[in-house]
């Protein structure tokens, strides 16, 4: 009967393996038009004229002046227009929208735009527009640094990363009932609803958002769907007909968000044994042309920048700056992969400098229960940095291989990392998420806005509810996320869907169990009729955060991970081949072990791609390799063998002790791989570590 802890068959499994699951491009509506976005071809300038004769030829055409409400993409700041009218800030910026019933005719349509070009800012270090800056301060860094016997400095860089969900962004907007219904491939229905109410000037009651089966997100369908949804909705309202926009791969890669490139500088004071005495960290993120989610990406990045280590004196300065490139945005890990890459490669360099074993250095400094993080958060009993490190080292036979590989073309490297579950700081309090349970004739239905994007939301939530109610897993169902039906459970992001939303659902189920008073759902239904229980997030009393000072409990709980990567260099081509990754991750409780393993394996593979092969080639502020032919992601031949170990130290904050798992797996692979490359005596401090970069390190850049 118990399903938690069992790898029960996932709810959406059969629909997906039979090809009957319906994604956005599989749907159609009577009178459907196809939409297309005309985009800027320059990175910066002014629009002087837009010329076409398309209305006469039966096209529906919409520009900035056709926006019924405010011409912005409502998110954190109001700086991004839905359609540019005068000023262009990046290549591929939307300017004009076209719709036509014939896709071929639509594709062939010509629009001429005259620009007055300006010099774009493409180097984040040359940008004088700061979207957001922050400081984390602990102890007295200046004094501690002055007294430190050894100082190690370093600068580390990471590039863009493209999400490459295999289903591109797509929506259908249907004008109906005095408003709009928007179907789409998306992570956050209520984000889209908010954006459309502002853009269309309509009340939320007539702006309905329905998530269709979604072919991957990874953060790429967190904020971007508000843009494409806005475009389709503006066209649909003007046309009075449904409008579908589904990007092809090239447009998706060119125009949508990517992971923020980063430059992170470390200055660390240590004693001769390797104890961290003082840390100064500077973070620069390239935000792209508009603010979008950069402030919160920076925030998570900064909080994770000092790694899972104890140090009494820490100062972290972060800023995210504007460049004339398409906005960067949410991507699995959300700033933490960038800053933990820097920290972990820097730790390796500290070990090299002191001549001590890199594992020993990490053991010495790893956070233990009772220690404090950079924001002063006291670590709870589920702090497992040391356990994951020791298990990964043992399991991978690290010590023997480290010795055996020395001087060969093989290397082995380690990374230790952590990841906070849920929104940062007071984020969950502001979200005030709701979840509901509804009794049905067949059992129970879950009502949440949390979306299934492949990670297993429906299955995992059903397990939590079934066991809490004491009913079979099979009798728990989940409503399709539809803002007309489900409450706002917050966005499906930040490793919060299990720990935060799952916990609210568990509280709903606890109350429903009491109300049922021992009756089965079917018997209760017969005797008393409908029953709906709705609950809201409740902040744990002892979780405290100070927004102004940037101190306190940044997250209610953390997952902990350690990766050991083994690589081999081809001495002729300088290609680095990942041979094997051992990954140990402590995530509180695996509600569904196979889904958890799936998150770890998928995230690890994505992290290996980030480390070695995924290169966004930017030319004049635009992605020059916007196709899968030459932006490559790991195939079956590029992924290493994986040995995945799941450890469980329950957190009191999550259902059945569960913490977040979705994002953490991508924090570790890049530094572990680069540290394995460093074991080959190659000083690499930047990813992706492409063969040409390795060749430069081997042969010199001259």
């Amino acid at each position: 009967m118990q399903s938690v802890g069992q790898s029960v068959t996932r709810k959406d499994g059969m629909a997906k393996v039979t090809g009957t699951a319906r994604y956005i491009d599989d749907l159609s509506f009577r009178g459907l038009l196809h939409g297309r976005t005309i985009r800027s071809t320059i990175p910066r300038g002014r629009i002087l004229a837009v010329r076409h004769q398309l209305e006469q030829r039966g096209f529906v055409v919409a520009g900035a002046r056709d926006v019924p409400g405010r011409n912005i993409v409502a998110l954190i700041e109001d700086d991004q227009p839905c359609l540019a009218e005068h000023e262009v800030r990046h290549t591929a910026e939307p300017i004009l929208l076209l719709a036509h019933e014939d896709r071929d005719v639509l594709r062939a349509a010509q629009v001429e735009i005259d620009y007055e070009t300006a010099t774009p800012v493409l180097d984040p270090l040359a940008s004088d527009v700061i979207h957001k800056s922050l400081r984390i301060d602990k102890g007295d860094v200046r004094d501690a640094m002055a007294r430190a016997p050894v100082i190690v400095d370093g600068e580390y860089r990471t590039g863009h990363q493209e999400h490459v969900y295999i289903e591109t962004n797509g929506v259908i907007a249907v004008p109906e009932k005095g408003g709009i219904t928007l179907y789409g491939s998306l992570q956050c229905p209520y984000y889209v609803q908010k954006a459309l109410t502002v853009l269309l000037g309509l009340p939320a009651e007539v702006v309905r958002i329905v998530q269709t089966e979604t072919g991957g997100g990874f953060g790429g369908k967190e904020e971007y769907p508000s843009v494409i949804a806005g475009h389709a909705a503006v066209l649909a309202l003007k046309a009075g007909r449904p409008v579908k926009i589904v990007y092809d791969r090239a447009e998706d890669m060119l125009a949508t968000t990517k992971r923020h490139p980063s430059i992170v500088r470390h200055r660390t004071g240590v004693d001769h044994d390797g104890r961290l005495l003082a840390m100064e960290i500077e973070i620069i993120l390239d935000g792209g042309a508009y603010v979008t989610l950069s402030p919160v990406v920076l925030s998570r990045g900064a909080i994770h920048a000092a790694g899972p280590y104890r140090c009494d004196h820490v100062r972290i300065d972060g800023r995210t700056v504007m460049t004339n490139t398409p906005p960067n945005g949410a991507f699995r890990g959300f700033g933490a992969p960038q800053t933990q890459f820097a920290m972990e490669v820097h730790m390796e360099r500290i070990a090299e400098r002191l001549g001590i074993d890199p594992v020993r250095l990490r053991e010495l400094n790893a956070l233990r229960p009772g220690d404090t993080t950079a924001t002063g958060q006291v670590m709870d009993l589920d702090c497992s940095a040391l356990e994951v490190l020791q298990e990964a080292v043992r399991r991978s036979d690290y010590a023997r291989k480290r010795h055996a590989y020395a001087g060969t073309n093989r290397g082995i490297g380690v990374s230790l990392f952590f990841h906070g579950s849920g929104f940062t700081g007071s984020g969950e309090v502001h979200l005030a998420s709701k979840a509901a349970l509804q009794l049905t004739e067949r059992g129970v239905q879950i009502l949440v806005a949390s979306t299934e994007i492949g990670q297993g939301t429906r299955t995992m939530h059903a397990q939590i509810v079934a066991d809490t109610l004491g009913i079979p897993y099979e009798s728990v169902h989940t409503a399709q996320p539809d803002t007309a039906v489900v409450p706002d459970s917050g966005p499906t992001v930040a490793s919060r869907t299990c720990m935060v939303v799952g916990r609210i659902l568990q509280r709903c189920a606890e109350e429903m169990r009491e109300r049922l008073g021992g009756l089965s759902p079917a018997d209760y239904w017969k005797a008393h009729g409908p029953l709906v229980i709705i609950k809201q997030y409740e902040k744990p009393e002892d979780v405290r955060w100070d927004d102004a000072g940037y101190t306190g409990d940044a997250y209610a709980a953390y997952g902990w991970g350690c990766d050991v990567a083994e690589v081999q260099m081809d001495p002729d081509t300088y290609e680095i081949r990942p041979l094997r990754i051992t990954t140990v991750q402590e995530i509180g409780k695996a509600i569904h072990p196979s889904l958890v393993a799936g998150q770890i394996e998928g995230g690890t593979s994505q992290g290996v791609g980030y480390a070695l092969i995924e290169h966004v080639a930017m030319r004049d502020g635009a992605m020059a390799n916007a196709q899968l032919t030459n932006y490559i992601i790991p195939t079956t031949l590029d992924t290493p063998q994986m040995d995945v170990v799941i450890l469980e130290k329950p957190s009191r904050h999550g259902p059945y002790g569960a913490k977040g798992v979705g994002e953490m797996p991508i924090d570790g692979p890049a530094p572990a791989v680069v540290n394995a490359i460093r074991h080959l005596a190659l000083d690499v401090r930047e990813i992706p570590a492409l063969p040409e970069h390795i060749m430069e390190v081997v042969c010199g850049s001259g």
């Binding site: 996932r10 499994g13 393996v17 039979t18 994604y23 997100g217 889904l595 393993a597 799936g598 992924t639």
Partner: protein
């Protein structure tokens, strides 16, 4: 044009240069075959033509005249690979899954790990890291 589609003789009228992918989806109503890239790189649109896997986004409809075309719908949910993918977590977001299963089908029964890795190298999955897909194929 006449062809065998999922075991049945059919006659389909479409432009000979139309992509097989579009003919399957738009003319035949078989939406199980997905488009991921439109350039033959991701394999989401894989179907079998005379038993061999092809990326249907690169095949003009004229090429399949008189052939035997098998799509995910042709397995009718009965194939052991489908069950194994569902049970082992071989499908996460599911968009690559129909193509992945068709490519796996072409590997034949009980393929070696080497053969699996080689045979699926043209099918991208962004969710699984392929591990659960290997487990599913080895189980089926």
């Amino acid at each position: 044009m006449r062809l065998r589609l999922n075991g049945a003789q059919v006659e389909v009228s479409a432009h000979p240069m139309k992509r097989l992918l579009d003919v399957l989806r738009e003319e035949c109503g078989l939406y199980g075959t997905k488009e991921g890239c439109g350039e033959g790189e991701c394999g989401a649109c894989t179907v079998l033509v005379n038993g061999a896997p092809v990326v249907s986004c690169l095949v003009p409809f004229a090429h399949v005249e008189g052939t035997d075309v098998l799509t995910i719908e042709g397995l009718q949910g009965q194939h052991p690979l489908q069950r194994a993918f569902a049970e082992e977590g071989g499908a996460q977001c599911g968009i690559c899954t129909p193509g992945m299963i068709m490519a796996a089908l072409a590997l034949g029964p009980k393929p070696s790990m080497r053969r699996i890795r080689d045979g699926l190298a043209g099918n991208l999955c962004r969710c699984t890291g392929y591990e659960a897909i290997y487990r599913a194929i080895r189980k089926a």
